[in-house]
Symmetry: C2
Subunit: 363 residues, 2 copies
C-alpha cells in the first residue's frame, strides 16, 4: 500500500503474454490482439478494459513469437565494413536505422572487417534469424550477396557493389571530382598531383566496385588533359585506407614526400580520400612547406576534413541517404512494392574550406 513504486509485472519474473492480458480483461487473446492491432470491431467498453489490462500487466509484444507465426521477422541484416575509423559507415548505419524504424523494421548490424569469411558467417546468422532482407555496406564477397539472393532474400549493396544481383547503390563521384579539380584550376594550378588507391582493372571481378577510384582518377586525368598540363610522375597509387600503427604513416604521407622531393614539384594535390589527404598534410608540414600557401590539397569523403589543419576542402558523400535508400529499396521489395534489382546513383558535393588557394607564382 505504501510501496513507492512498482514496475508493472506478472508475478514470477517472466513477462506478460497475451493470455495474461486476456485473463485480466476477461476476454480471449483474439480480442486483445484486435485491440492492439486496431483492426476489426471491438466494443468501446471492452477496448477500455483491455487497454487497462495491458497497462497493469506491463504487456510487451513478443517479437519472436510474432515473427515465427507470420514467417516475417521485420528484421533487416546490415553488414557493415566499418573500417576503423570511418565515420562514413557510421552515417550509413544511422540512415539505415532511421529508415527502418519509421517503417517498423529492426536493423541487425554485424561489423564485418574486410573479410569474406566473417561476412559469410554474418549472413548465416542473419538468415538464421530469418531476416527479411540484407544490406551490404559494402560487400566483401559477391558470393555472399548471391547466396542470399538465391534464397529469395532481397539485398542491397551500398557504394561498392561486387555483384550484379539485387539492388545497387552507388555514388556519382565523377562530377564532384571534376568540380574539385576545376576549383584547383581556377586557382591557377596546373601542376596537380593525384594521390590515390591502386586502380583496379576495368574488366574482371573488380570491374564493378573499382568504379570509385576510376571515377576519381578519371576526373583528375580528364581535367589535366583539358588544360593541356603534364601528368608524368604525378599520379601515385597505393594502399589508401590504412596507416601503419607504429609510425601512423601511410601512402598519403609517403607519396607526398616523394612528390615534394621532385625537381618540379606539384602546386596542388588531389587526394582520393581524407585519410590520404591527412597524410599529405603531414608530409607537407614536415617538408617545411605550408598549405595552402605553397601547396593546395583537396580530399575526398569529408570524413576527417573538419579536424585537419588547415581545414580540408573535400567532397562529401551522401552517407546517410545511402543507408536510408538501401533500406528503403529492400523493404519495398519485401513488401512487394517497387521493382527489384534497382541501380541508383547518388550525388556527392564539393565542400570548400581552407586547404586550397591561389597557386604560388613559378619559382
Amino acid at each position: 500500500m505504501d510501496r513507492e513504486e512498482t514496475w508493472p509485472r506478472v508475478s514470477g519474473g517472466r513477462s506478460a503474454t497475451l493470455k495474461d492480458v486476456a485473463g485480466a480483461a476477461g476476454v480471449t487473446t483474439t480480442t486483445v490482439a484486435r485491440v492492439l492491432k486496431e483492426s476489426g470491431y471491438v466494443a468501446e467498453s471492452t477496448k477500455a478494459r483491455v487497454l487497462e489490462a495491458v497497462a497493469t500487466t506491463g504487456y510487451r509484444p513478443n517479437s519472436l513469437a510474432r515473427s515465427l507465426r507470420q514467417s516475417r521477422s521485420h528484421v533487416i541484416g546490415h553488414l557493415l565494413k566499418s573500417t576503423v575509423p570511418n565515420p562514413f559507415y557510421v552515417e550509413v548505419a544511422r540512415g539505415a536505422e532511421e529508415e527502418a524504424r519509421t517503417r517498423g523494421y529492426t536493423i541487425l548490424t554485424a561489423n564485418v572487417q574486410h573479410d569474406a569469411e566473417t561476412e559469410r558467417r554474418a549472413v548465416e546468422t542473419f538468415l538464421g534469424w530469418r531476416a527479411d532482407g540484407l544490406v551490404f555496406s559494402t560487400p566483401s564477397d559477391p558470393a555472399n550477396v548471391e547466396y542470399a539472393q538465391s534464397l529469395g532474400v532481397p539485398t542491397a549493396q551500398v557504394e561498392r557493389p561486387r555483384s550484379l544481383v539485387g539492388h545497387r547503390l552507388v555514388v556519382r563521384n565523377y562530377p564532384s571530382a571534376v568540380a574539385a579539380m576545376r576549383h584547383l584550376v581556377e586557382f591557377g594550378h596546373r601542376r596537380i598531383a593525384y594521390v590515390g588507391a591502386e586502380l583496379l582493372p576495368e574488366d574482371g571481378p573488380a570491374a564493378l566496385f573499382g568504379y570509385v577510384e576510376r571515377e576519381r582518377f578519371g576526373a583528375w586525368r580528364d581535367v589535366i588533359r583539358d588544360i593541356g598540363a603534364a601528368t608524368e610522375g604525378l599520379a601515385r597509387f597505393g594502399e589508401a585506407y590504412t596507416i601503419d600503427q607504429p609510425t601512423a604513416q601511410g601512402h598519403g604521407y609517403r607519396a607526398t614526400q616523394a612528390l615534394l622531393q621532385a625537381a618540379d614539384r606539384p602546386t596542388a594535390i588531389f587526394a582520393s580520400n581524407d585519410i590520404l589527404a591527412a597524410g599529405a598534410l603531414q608530409a607537407i608540414h614536415e617538408a617545411g612547406l605550408r598549405c595552402p600557401d605553397d601547396i593546395s590539397v583537396v580530399g575526398f569523403d569529408d570524413t576527417l576534413a573538419g579536424f585537419l589543419t588547415p581545414l580540408l576542402t573535400s567532397v562529401r558523400l551522401p552517407a546517410r541517404r545511402l543507408g536510408a535508400t538501401a533500406v528503403r529499396l529492400v523493404i519495398d521489395e519485401i513488401e512487394g512494392k517497387g521493382a527489384p534489382d534497382q541501380h541508383l546513383a547518388l550525388d556527392a558535393e564539393l565542400v570548400l574550406r581552407r586547404s586550397t588557394a591561389t597557386a604560388p607564382t613559378r619559382r
Copy 2:
C-alpha cells in the same frame, strides 16, 4: 542433369525445417535435433543419413523458433551512443561483437544519439525481441538502465555510467592523464593550459559519469600544483564533442585562440580529447605558431591522433576491451556464472608521438 549448380532448397521457396530434414532422412525431428546438437545416442548410420539430409535440404536452424521455445534469445542489445565521428564507439562495438560471437550470442545494435527518448524506444525494441541482456555504451538516461534491470534483464554500462544498478565499466583516466602531464613537465613545461569539457558537479545526478572529466582535469590540477606552477586563466571549459558545421570550429579552436592572445601564453596545452586537440592545432597554426616548436599539445582518446599534423601525443582508451568485457559480464550473469553488479576499471595508455617537445626558452 546438366544444370550448372543449384542451391539446396526445399521447393516452394520457404526454407527447410527440421521436419523436412526428418522426412528426407526417414527419422523424426527429435533424432535430427539430437544429431545437430551432438547430444544423446544416435547410431552412426542414421547420423550419416541425417547429415546428408541436412545438406541436401539446405537446412538452417530457425533462431526465432528456438528462442521462443527456450525463452532465451541469446541476443544482447547494444545501445551505442555513436557520436559521429567517434571511432571509440566503433571499437567498443567490435569488441562486443567478437565476444558475443565466441559465446554463441548475437548483438543487436541501436545507434542512439544523445537522446533519452530514442534510447527508451531502443530498449523497448530490444525487450520486444526478448534480448537476454543489454549493454549501454554509454547510457543517456539512468531510468532506461533501471527499467531493464527491474525487469530482470542484466545490463552493463560502459565508460560513463549513470546509474548504480547493473555492471559498470569505467576507464582509469587519472594515472595516464598524470603520465601525460609529467611527460610535458619533463620537457620543461611549466605553463600548461587545460582545454576540456565543462566539469560536472561532484554530487547530484552527474556525479557518476562526470568522473571522466574530473579525473582528466584533476590530473592537470594536481601536477600543476606539484610543480608549483600557475593555474589562473589556464583552464578553459566548453562543449567538447561537437564542432560547428559551417565553420568546422569548436571549443578547442576558440579556447586555444584566446589562450594564445594572452600576454603570457602557455607553452603547452593538455586537451581532454582529440577533437579539442585538433581544434587547438588549428588555432596554433592560424596564429602563425608551430607545434611542437612553440607550443606542445597532448590529446586524449587517441581517436584522431594518427591523422593530425603533427602526429598527436594522446592517451589511448581500451575501447575494444571495454566492449568485450561488458558483454562478458552480461553473458556471465545471464548464464548464472559470475557476480552481478560488478564495477571494473580498465587502464588507458599514453601514446607518445610528435606534438610534444622541449619547452621554448622564455621569451
